[in-house]
Each structure stands twice: as C-alpha cells, then as structure tokens.
Amino acid sequence: MQLNISMFNLWDLIIQFFLQIVFLIVIFCNLIIRGDIFGVNLLEHAAASLIRVGVGFAIAIITAIPLGLLIGWNKKLSSITHPFIEMVRHIPPIAWIPFSIVFFGLGLFSSAFIVWLGAFFPILLSTASGVKNLGRAQVDVAITLGAKERDLIFKVVFPAILPEIITGMRVGLGVGWMCVIASEMIGLRKPVGLGFFVLEMQYLGRYLEMIAGMIMIGLVGLFLDYGLRFLENRILRWREEVGK
C-alpha cells in the first residue's frame, strides 16, 4: 500500500490520491470495527488517551482556578510568583517527559503530569487576568450590600470571570490533548493510547494506519472542544455577545 508515483501522469496521480483516501476510510472503519493487528480497537486507544488527559486536566482545573483567583486578587502574590510562573511556563511540557518518567515511572500519572503541565498555565493565566480586569462597581455594590469575603469570591468574582476561566479551559484542554499524545510517543506506556498507536504504526511501516490514528487524534480533539463549547453555552447563557 505504498504511494506509487513512478509515472508522471497527472491523471494517474489523481486516481492514486482518491484511491488512497478510499483505502484510508476503509482502514479507519476497520480499525474501529475489528481493531489493529494486535486486536486493539482504535476507540480503545482513544479511551486510554482520554483517561490520561482526563486525570491531568481535572487536576489542572482544581489547582489552576484557586491559584489564579489568589494571584489575581493579591497584587503582591502576583509579583512574587510572576517570574517563577513565567519560567516554568516556558519549559515545553514535552521537555518534562524524561523528568516525569524518572519520577512517576511509566504509569498513568506520568502522562497525567505532562497533561497537567500543559493545561495548568492557560487556565491559571486566564483566571488571574479575569480577576484583574474585573470591574470595580460590582465588587463595591456587593460589599455595601453586605457581602463577606467568601460571598465576594464565590458569588461575585468567580461567576464574573467564568467566561475567562472557560476560555482558559478550552485552550488548556487543547494543549493537554497534544501533551498526552506526545507523552505516549516518548515514554511508551502499556500498549494502548493514540500516541503509542501512531508511532507503532510508523515503526511497522503501516502508514495508512498511522494516518488513520492521526485523524482519530484530531477528531477526539474536535469533540472535546464541542463538549466544552456546549458546556460554555449552557453555563454562560447570560453573556452578552458582540460578534455575529
């Protein structure tokens, strides 16, 4: 199943191209229905990657939002943590993979750690900047109406910056998804996961299967974003939209 372009004939090229696409679709369906050469279904690979990304992303949400609120609220803390955050943020998550393998071995947590690194900073930064850009009026009114600090955080600041938080989550989930694929490629896990699958197919010279795996990576990413956008539209019904 190799691309054969020995004849420099345009017509031939076009036919080859469409033929390969047809093969690709057939192989993609076959991978989902019957599984790969080891008998593992493509959806099982996707599920394995999703679990890894899910754990890392959940931890990122739990850690980044409270910290973002704190940093946004407290100017001093913001200036103290700023250099540290910017330094760590600019180390690509992929560069952390060796470190992660040393520390967490080849289990779920080393992948989740890489995902966490990728998703944490977009959520943190958008949460913090959301707090910083918050209008004075809403907070003032809440205080004069008798809101305590806890009410301010949970009933004013948090809902007010929810749009920014969700934007951060969308970016973070995208980065996290890329991270999990990369981590599965570099530190080979137990033989499931889309990153593992794509790399393995390349080793075996099964290039159409490799591309089918890549398409699956893209599709899952698309559905993840649809999911978050659905959530966004449900939660942020109140938001005023400017664009059309």
Binding site: Q138, T144, G146, E240
Partner: protein, 261 residues
C-alpha cells in the same frame, strides 16, 4: 442649614489625595463638610472630576479619607458599611443573575430565608415596575430598566441610606427624565435618606431638597442651596428656571477653572 431634624450622615473635614502610578499627586477633596438629615434628598453637584465619586465612596467606607471622618447615625465609618444602597453609574448589575437574582443578592448574603426573599423581591418588582421581566438577564434589559433593577436591589436590604452616583448618566434624555420621576415616586414611598451625585443641574434641582455644589478639583463645598419648590416640580416654571440660572452660573465658573488649569 440648621435644624432640619435628625442628622443621619455627618461629613466632617474630609480630604483625600490620590497618588498616581508615577507618583503624581491628585487632590480630590479638601475639607468637605456637610450634614444630611433623616429622610432628606440631598444632591451633590459639581463639574466632572471634582471628586464626587470619591466622596460617595468615602461615605460608603469603600475608601478611607486622609483627613476628617464620616459619621452615619452617629457612628464613625471605619470600614465598608454593610447595609448601604449604593448605585453606581453603570455596569453594576451581576450579568449572570436574573432580575430576581440581582434584587435578592443583598438578602441572600445577609442570610434572609428563601420565602422572605421571594416576598420582598415581588414587592420591589411591583414598586419599580418590572413585572414580566423577573427571569430576564440584564443583557435583555434596556438601560433604564437596568437602573431600576439596581435601585430595587439597593432597596431590598432596607438600606440605611441610598447613595446614587450619576445613576442616569448613560440614559437618553427621555428615559432620564422618566427615571427621575420614578426615583422621586420611589423615594416618596420609601422615605429613605438619599445622597444623589450628578453633574446635571436640572436633575439636581428636580430631585433635591437641598443641593451642595462642589468646586472643581480639589472639591470643596462651594455653595449650599435649599430647594423649596413644591413637588412634582415643573422644570419650565419661572422659579425653577431662576434657580437653574443661578446654579449654572456658579457651575460655569468651576467648569472654566477646570479647563484653565
């Protein structure tokens, strides 16, 4: 002005200077003193930038004066005062809450029970005339309706005093005069003490029992004027027009100063 009844708010020698980001000093208020009496409608007028907003924020305890103090009901204001009806110019509604949710915010954070909240909110929605919009979000309301919600939200906690900071500044002329009438009506029904800040002289005369005119920066009390015209006032009546002319002249002086500096 002496002997108007019980003193509700006392502002004594309040001064405030802000330091900007690059160390430049801006003197907002200098030795501002006045009293507000129980049930009185006081408007504070002054050219833009004269520290009107700062004054309100100091009264509400949201800002500390450098000098002087504010007393509400004889108690010195040291920290943000709980239980004030503060209504800023704009963008103060909680856009993620419905009309009901906005109005009941103060009740909620003060631990009022759900049933009690429902009752109070229903009454207020009737008072400000927002029936049919109970479950709308602020984005679905016009500017005037938004400010009605802000007023209802402030009234919900049965505030010690209402502080309004140019609440109608962003409304068109018609809506503005309609809202002025509405506010007067609501004030009549509730008999709250009101401090209303504006740069709009007509609005001030229309609403006020008494007007305090602040000078341009730094804001000082330039003039106090009692308005005795019977309500509702007719803005085209000769008395109204003559008061307006007088205030306008004073205001003009200050305005010119602001722009000559």
């Amino acid at each position: 002005m002496e002997n108007e009844g019980i003193v509700k708010i006392e502002v004594v020698n309040v001064s405030k200077t802000f330091t900007g980001e690059y160390g430049q000093k801006v003197e907002a208020l200098r030795d501002v003193s006045f009293k507000v009496y129980e049930g009185e409608f006081l408007t504070v007028v002054g050219p833009s930038g004269c520290g009107k907003t700062t004054l309100l924020r100091i009264i509400a305890g949201l800002e500390k004066p450098d000098k002087g103090y504010v007393k509400i009901d004889g108690k010195k204001v040291e920290s943000p005062v709980n239980g004030l009806g503060y209504i800023p110019q704009d963008f103060s509604l909680f856009p993620w809450r419905t009309v009901i949710g906005n109005i009941e915010f103060g009740l909620e954070v003060n631990g009022v029970s759900r049933d009690e909240r429902k009752k109070i909110v229903k009454e207020l929605i009737g008072l400000v005339g927002l029936e049919g919009f109970e479950n709308s979000f602020p984005k679905e309301l016009s500017g005037g309706m938004k400010q009605k919600v802000a007023i209802a939200r402030a009234l919900a906690i049965d505030p010690i005093v209402l502080l309004l900071d140019e609440p109608f500044a962003n409304l068109d002329a018609q809506t503005r005069s309609y809202m002025q009438r509405e506010l007067e009506r609501i004030w009549h029904e509730h008999k709250k003490t009101v401090i209303f800040v504006t740069h709009h002289i007509e609005e001030a005369i229309y609403l006020a029992d008494r007007i305090i005119l602040l000078s341009s920066r730094p804001g000082k009390v330039k003039m106090e004027l009692k308005i005795d015209l019977p309500r509702p006032r007719i803005i085209t009546s000769p008395e109204f027009v003559s008061i307006r002319a007088k205030l306008l002249k004073e205001m003009e002086e200050e305005f010119v100063k602001t722009f000559n500096v």
